[in-house]
């Protein structure tokens, strides 16, 4: 059992959950993830790390409540247990000196981008973070982002905070007056596809962290296969980060929808039983 040691709301539908998982905390590197299973009947789902405390053995993750498992996870109280956690999984981000890096994300994926941006900054890069959100309410952990970067740009769909519009529009504008060497995107597939396209036009490198559907997370099933540069890769072991120029984002998006009908059933059952 892995104990939940803190759980706080960041925004409607978003929680910051802190878990005691010493073996994962001891080793995890920015860019890697872990897989959890809440209880006996639960499914295995991958989650990223927002923060880790190697000494005390804690990991923190931003939970976006989208379906049964993430809702169940978000509802856990301090002292509750998670049955299984395995990690770290996947390859760490390639942290080196690129020059000027833009990290672009949306709402909950600030969690995953935070430790990567921090390491990139520590490695001597200039780091700009662009955060997109529906509205002001969904912009969170901003202080943390400001502390680890040179600049944070906020874009909201309704204009209630920062500039109005999508994060990728903010990126386009930013590139008008800035030379950027790497654009690292973690977020909805369309955001990553567009960000990678913009990077290419601009002559910057593109890296995206792919949210493929996973099962074991250790390379044994092939559920997470993605096409990168015409080749099939397993996102859980060869990724989750890949060269954004080469990723077949349309295929990824299609595969992410494979179980939408079942997900609806699972959620309905869950809510009925609550």
């Amino acid at each position: 059992m892995y104990k939940v040691v803190a759980n706080s709301e960041l925004a409607p539908g978003y929680k910051l959950v802190k878990i005691h998982a010493p073996l994962v905390a001891a080793k995890i590197q920015p860019g890697q993830f872990f897989v959890l299973r809440i209880d006996e009947k639960g499914e295995r789902i991958p989650m990223s790390i927002f923060e880790f405390d190697r000494k005390r053995g804690y990991i923190e993750t931003v939970v976006h409540e989208v379906g049964k498992t993430t809702k169940k996870l978000a509802s856990l109280e301090v002292g509750d247990g998670i049955m299984n956690i395995i990690g770290p999984l996947g390859k760490p981000s390639e942290i080196r000196r690129y020059g000027h890096v833009v990290c672009i994300c949306r709402e909950g994926t600030v969690g995953a981008i935070h430790p990567i941006a921090r390491s990139l900054k520590r490695a001597g890069n200039k780091v700009t973070i662009i955060v997109g959100a529906r509205s002001k309410e969904y912009v969170f952990l901003l202080d943390k982002l400001k502390k680890i970067s040179d600049e944070v740009i906020v874009a909201t769909d309704d204009g209630s905070m920062g500039r109005k519009g999508y994060a990728v529009s903010a990126l386009r504008d930013f590139l008008k007056s800035n030379k950027v060497d790497l654009i690292l995107s973690i977020g909805p597939t369309l955001l990553m596809k567009t960000a990678s396209k913009i990077a290419k036009e601009h002559g910057a490198k593109a890296i995206s962290s792919l949210g493929a559907i996973m099962l074991d997370g250790t390379g044994m099933c092939g559920a997470c296969r993605v096409t990168v540069g015409g080749e099939t890769k397993f996102a859980c072991v060869h990724g989750p980060e890949f060269d954004g120029y080469k990723v077949d984002f349309d295929e990824l998006k299609r595969r992410q929808k494979m179980y939408v009908e079942e997900e609806k059933i699972a959620l309905k059952e869950y809510e009925r039983l609550l």
Binding site: L23, T232, I265
Partner: protein
């Protein structure tokens, strides 16, 4: 000999095909005591039993059969467990017809003694009576780590514990057992039985740590630093092979591993009571002809699909056990022989809808002695389906090897070991599918047993014990 030999073995009761396709319960029901006694009486108690030579772990077969005849089932299990800690499993899944039973002298004239069924009977009889061995082993103060909890790892652990070592198994998944829990379906090997056999091994003092992916969570070097004096690697062959043909990443195309993993380990057949979903569809095709392919097909039938098995040679060449092929056919699975897929075709949503195939013919024999399938030009045709399972084999699990470059491997990705099972790293031993490539449960057990002994020798030599 004056004894009159019963020419035919005692049949084992089975669930009838019409019923069993509606459930995941065990197909073969096992012998009753009377049936077991009758079958046991067929054994000639040979002075030089040839059957034993056919068993990779050399169980004293006439010895335990004699105990059955004497109604001494406790001694029977003791005899078996001396050579094999997982008898309820082997009695069910060993390809006996190629091993112990193939060698039985009775087989020359009559049907061989049903050794596997008798082994299963003894194991089941004692399990249902909660029979436990209370062995007091004096700990020698040394620790050994085992990577992977498949049959090879479990066996190595059990023997090392019986020699007095403190043994810890590190397993990546959330349940121990390897292929026994994530691969072989419930209706061939109930998971409750695997759990009980593992319980027994834990009672010998073996500790199992789940959720540890060695190579990522902990390295081999760290295991040594944690005070383990030697390591056994039994990580298996779990990397799925794909066909590398167009359309393979369309939705609703699974590897055999993923399909079985969802059904067996995650209990997708009980969705939504269990959370993990699976797609079955109305028409499902399995590609392949081995045990894994047959297992996938039989699972899919139970979940309500019309199932076709697509194989590029003929049924005769199928590597799956003939008994299982018969079972599959009885359950209504259609076999397409001499057919090979060349392309998957999807709809606008990216869901697979058709398989384009070609017909094959058998040509010259290849190195394995089987006739090589060749494409018949211009024979393309399509099959309508909505789910596909690709079960054409697995390669060795590469993860530990990639993160441990000092470990020497073959081109096929199997770990290179010497005659004692020792790898290129001193104190690290390996066995099972990670060394041989996909093989059998009993071969993995044999490798675990041998490595345990070699580890014991090694630690004595280096003066650690």
């Amino acid at each position: 000999m004056s004894k009159k030999i019963l020419p035919k073995r005692v049949d084992m009761p089975e669930q009838r095909p019409k019923e069993r396709v509606k459930n995941f319960e065990e197909v073969a029901l096992g012998y009753s005591e009377t049936q077991a006694l009758k079958e046991a009486s067929r054994c000639l108690q040979c002075a030089k039993p040839r059957c034993v030579k056919g068993c990779p772990v050399r169980i004293n077969i006439p010895g335990f059969i004699k105990c059955i005849l004497n109604h001494d089932f406790k001694t029977a299990i003791k005899i078996i467990k001396k050579s094999n800690y997982l008898p309820a499993i082997c009695g069910r899944v060993c390809p006996q017809e190629l091993q112990c039973e193939k060698n039985c002298v009775l087989g020359r004239k009559y049907e061989p003694v049903a050794i596997g069924r008798l082994e299963r009977f003894v194991a089941d009889y004692n399990r249902s009576r909660e029979y436990k061995v209370k062995k007091k082993v004096k700990l020698n103060g040394k620790k050994v780590a085992i990577v992977g909890s498949g049959p090879s790892g479990l066996t190595a652990a059990a023997y090392l514990a019986s020699y007095g070592y403190k043994v810890t198994i590190f397993e990546a998944l959330h349940e121990p057992g390897g292929v026994l829990v994530y691969g072989i379906p419930e209706f061939r090997l109930p998971k409750e039985i695997v759990r009980k056999e593992i319980e027994y091994i834990k009672n010998l003092g073996v500790e199992i740590k789940l959720d540890v992916l060695v190579g990522k969570t902990l390295s081999l070097k760290e295991l040594f630093e944690m005070g383990y004096s030697a390591i056994f690697v039994g990580t298996g062959a779990g990397l799925p092979k794909f066909l590398n043909i167009p359309g393979e990443n369309l939705n609703n195309i699974y590897s055999g591993n993923e399909f079985l993993f969802r059904i067996n380990l995650m209990k997708s057949y009980k969705f939504p009571e269990y959370d993990t979903p699976i797609k079955i569809g109305k028409k499902l095709a399995v590609i392949g002809g081995g045990n894994v392919a047959i297992d996938c097909a039989r699972c899919a039938v139970r979940m309500g699909a019309e199932v076709s098995l697509i194989y590029r040679r003929t049924e005769k060449e199928m590597p799956a056990r003939s008994e299982e092929i018969e079972h599959a056919k009885d359950e209504g699975i259609k076999i397409f022989e001499l057919v090979s897929p060349i392309k998957f075709i999807g709809d606008e949503k990216g869901n697979v809808k058709k398989i384009m195939c070609v017909k094959m013919k058998l040509g010259e024999r290849d190195i394995s002695g089987r006739r090589k399938p060749e494409v018949i030009e211009g024979s393309e045709f399509t099959i309508d389906i909505d789910t596909v399972v690709i079960a054409i084999g697995q390669s060795p699990n590469p993860l530990l090897l990639e993160t441990t470059p000092e470990l020497r491997v073959t081109n096929a990705g199997t770990i290179i070991v010497d005659e004692n099972g020792e790898t290129s790293i001193r104190g690290v031993f390996a066995g099972g599918d990670i060394v041989t490539g996909t093989a059998t449960v009993i071969q993995a057990i044999g490798a675990g047993k041998k490595a345990a002994y070699a580890i014991h020798q090694y630690l004595r030599e280096v003066g650690d014990v």
